[in-house]
């Protein structure tokens, strides 16, 4: 029976996919012949090099040393640039994957990195410094025997600690971000912390209650902009010329002094630090993040639903090939951690197609594949849960397969699967936060950025968590209402 051409349906689905990929390939890149535009990856916030404002941009008065430097160089050397703020690891991967032309992120020039990337003329010297709580009497490494010290994983501070662990006999604890690490020292869990000098000094200058005890930076290293090795030499030359000009004319020193000496950039200590005050101060950024989360969720769910329906319908055909295709796709994308999938699409795929994947598109495709696989399994299960007698009655009336499916089986199957689908929609909403890993400025990433500026981790995560609970509650109400209407 069921003699509809599933090969045809599968072929048209492939065609649709091809069109989508094709659209990605031809997505226009504005390149002006007169003034080239470079895409440069940077940090969300890595004080004092990059300091995002509450809107997630760099348009404030104190956007950071490197941002101000680049602004002047671009004007002097006549080029345009587009900044892509990400985590530092994301920066390095984006540069390797060709997503960006350069990385400007307070990057130390190390021998290991030199093998992979080209570097500009250095414009700063960065070294590891040791800081302790304000009331601590530890003054040197020798006093650390048996105590716990901390560093951010993967940094030169971490390397330094590992190298000297035997000599001084301390225990090392690793962190992912400076503010949580510093907080750990403040509350007395760790005796001392090792971090980038400028980052530490800037933090202390803006109110972190620690003190630096090293006299001069350990393992000092030059800081420079990283490029793809051997590529885009015209850009390398423009930027190098620019940096030399900045140094020669004293402009560079002026910017550095602005951030490390005096009080010009100090944050006002009188800012309202209550939850209401934080909400007011970051209202715009939070709304923007929330909007991005909602947008990703809605577009993601729609795409995942379409993808899942196709997988589910393929899964219940009597065509063995279509069934196998559906099972394999569901198996792969359910098995793959979503963060790996996101990295693969955003950083990996561009290597193959030779073209950048826009961030939002990468996020939506990730959601579509990951959530779509789960929805596919739900749809398949729902259709299979419909009494086979329904198929037989519909087909014995002479209804062809697709009419029996759409008029009789699907409406009943969908009703069975509604609770699971609602659950999956809520999961999708939560899973959008995983996309912060590739730098999508949704709610979670917005929270990370805000906290890196105001250090109010507890209160800010409380706010962010509450926002998630509120929208999930709204979504649940909405779905309960729809379910009641359907019943």
């Amino acid at each position: 029976m069921r003699r509809i051409s599933w090969k045809k349906i599968f072929a048209s689905w492939l065609a649709a996919l091809a069109i989508a990929v094709g659209w990605l390939l031809v997505e226009p890149q504005s390149v002006s012949a007169a003034e080239p535009t470079y895409t440069i990856a940077t940090n969300n916030t890595f004080e004092p090099f990059e300091i995002q404002d509450s809107k997630g941009g760099y348009s404030g008065k104190n956007p950071g040393i490197e941002i101000e430097m680049l602004r002047e160089i671009a004007k002097h050397e006549h080029f345009k640039y587009k900044l892509k703020p990400m985590s530092f690891n994301g920066d390095l991967q984006a540069l390797e994957g060709g997503q960006v032309d350069a990385v400007m992120a307070g990057m130390s020039v190390t021998d290991e990195r030199k093998q992979k990337f080209d570097f500009s003329v250095p414009y700063y010297t960065d070294g590891v410094e040791m800081a302790v709580a304000k009331d601590s009497n530890i003054k040197s490494l020798k006093q650390l025997k048996g105590k716990t010290v901390s560093a951010k994983s993967g940094t030169s501070a971490a390397l330094f600690l590992k190298k000297n662990q035997k000599k001084y006999g301390y225990k090392v604890k690793y962190f992912d971000s400076s503010n949580t690490m510093w907080n750990d020292v403040k509350i007395g869990n760790t005796a001392a912390t090792f971090d980038d000098g400028p980052v530490l000094e800037y933090g202390i200058k803006t109110g972190v209650p620690l003190k630096v005890v090293t006299k001069k930076p350990i393992d000092a290293q030059p800081v420079a902009i990283g490029f793809q090795k051997g590529k885009n030499l015209a850009m390398q030359k423009k930027i190098n010329d620019g940096i030399r000009w900045m140094k020669k004319t004293g402009r560079m020193q002026k910017i550095i002094d602005k951030y490390t000496k005096g009080n010009k950039t100090a944050k006002s200590a009188t800012a309202d630090r209550t939850i209401l005050g934080l909400l007011r101060a970051n209202r715009e950024a939070l709304l923007r993040g929330l909007w991005m989360t909602v947008e990703l969720t809605v577009v993601g769910i729609i795409c995942a639903m379409i993808f899942g329906l196709i997988l589910g319908v393929l899964g219940i055909t009597q065509n063995k090939f279509a069934q196998a295709v559906s099972s394999v796709i569901i198996y792969i994308f359910r098995g793959l951690p979503m963060i790996v999938l996101a990295f693969f699409i955003y950083m990996g795929v561009p290597n193959v197609i030779g073209h950048k994947v826009p961030l939002f598109v990468a996020g939506v495709i990730t959601l579509m594949l990951d959530e779509g696989a789960y929805i596919g399994a739900i749809v398949k299960g729902g259709f299979e849960a419909v009494d086979p007698g329904q198929w037989e009655a519909a087909r014995s009336l002479g209804l062809p397969y697709h009419k029996a499916l759409t008029k009789v089986i699907a409406p009943q199957g969908l009703k069975i699967m509604v609770p699971s689908l609602v659950n999956q929609f809520i999961m999708t909403l939560k899973d959008t936060s995983i996309l912060s890993a590739i730098g999508v400025m949704e709610l979670t990433e917005t929270g990370t950025v805000i906290i890196s500026q105001n250090m109010e981790g507890f209160k800010m995560w409380l706010i962010i968590g509450t926002i998630y609970i509120i929208i999930i509650t709204l979504l649940t109400w909405l779905s309960n209402y729809i379910q009641k209407r359907m019943a």
Partner: protein, 247 residues
């Protein structure tokens, strides 16, 4: 294939794995004939009936309905099915639509009638089975006997040449059986070609032109109701009738 018959079955075989459920069935059904099939549980009656509209795919032999060989892959099975109505033991009404929509779905979807025409027709069939006032309710609110009568109306709405019934009253409370059998008698009287699998010996005696006794995947014996019920020839037939008539 013989033009005199509505349904012609030649040497039909069907196996599930190594279990040969139908072991070479031959049967001819003339227009307006009512054939009742009886036999013990598991003897292959349902399987045979389901092979007639290809709900089961036969492993060998031929089934001609209205001159089309349903085993021929070139035959559009959906077209053939339009002419074969089927009524199931468990009704299989569509719970996602009203009684009226259950009946009009196929004629409208297959372009046999406009929605308005189909609804008018549907009401006529509902009237025939005595359920006109139930047109707009959900089938889940009906009793078993009412459901089965709606199912018959739904099958009739496609104006089939042949009607297949698979134990249409087995799932019903005893007091409901009469209503359904009444509708079937009426159909028989109007000249519908019917193949009915049933355990209702009274109905078979009264309505059937021919009774076919199934046993172990074969037709053991067939004949008029008098021949089968009053003068059974085969010991298996006698054995079976003893059991079902003397409980």
């Amino acid at each position: 294939m013989d033009k005199r018959y509505k349904v012609q079955v030649k040497d039909l075989h069907k196996s599930y794995g190594s279990n040969e459920v139908l072991q070479g069935i031959d049967l001819n059904v003339a227009p307006s004939e009512v054939v009742c099939m009886i036999g013990p549980s598991g003897s292959g009656k349902s399987t045979f009936l389901r092979c007639l509209n290809r709900l089961e795919v036969p492993n060998g032999g031929h089934v001609y309905v209205d001159g089309y060989d349903i085993a021929d892959p070139k035959v559009n099975i959906n077209k053939v099915r339009e002419n074969i109505g089927m009524v199931f033991q468990h009704f299989n009404l569509f719970p996602n639509m009203s009684v009226l929509d259950n009946i009009t779905l196929a004629p409208v979807q297959l372009g046999k009638a406009t929605k308005a025409e189909a609804e008018e027709e549907a009401l006529r069939y509902l009237d025939l089975v005595g359920l006109k006032e139930k047109a707009n309710v959900n089938p889940q609110t009906l009793s078993g006997g009412q459901k089965q009568r709606v199912a018959i109306a739904r099958a009739l709405a496609m104006k089939p040449d042949v009607m297949l019934f698979d134990e249409p009253t087995s799932a019903l409370d005893p007091e409901m059986v009469g209503d359904v059998l009444g509708v079937m008698k009426q159909l028989a009287k109007q000249g519908m070609t019917m193949i009915v699998v049933t355990h209702e010996m009274g109905f078979a005696k009264q309505v059937a032109d021919r009774v076919v006794f199934f046993h172990d995947g074969k037709i053991r014996e067939q004949g008029t109701p008098e021949e089968i019920f009053d003068h059974p020839q085969h010991p298996d037939t006698r054995n079976f009738l003893d059991k079902v008539l003397n409980v």
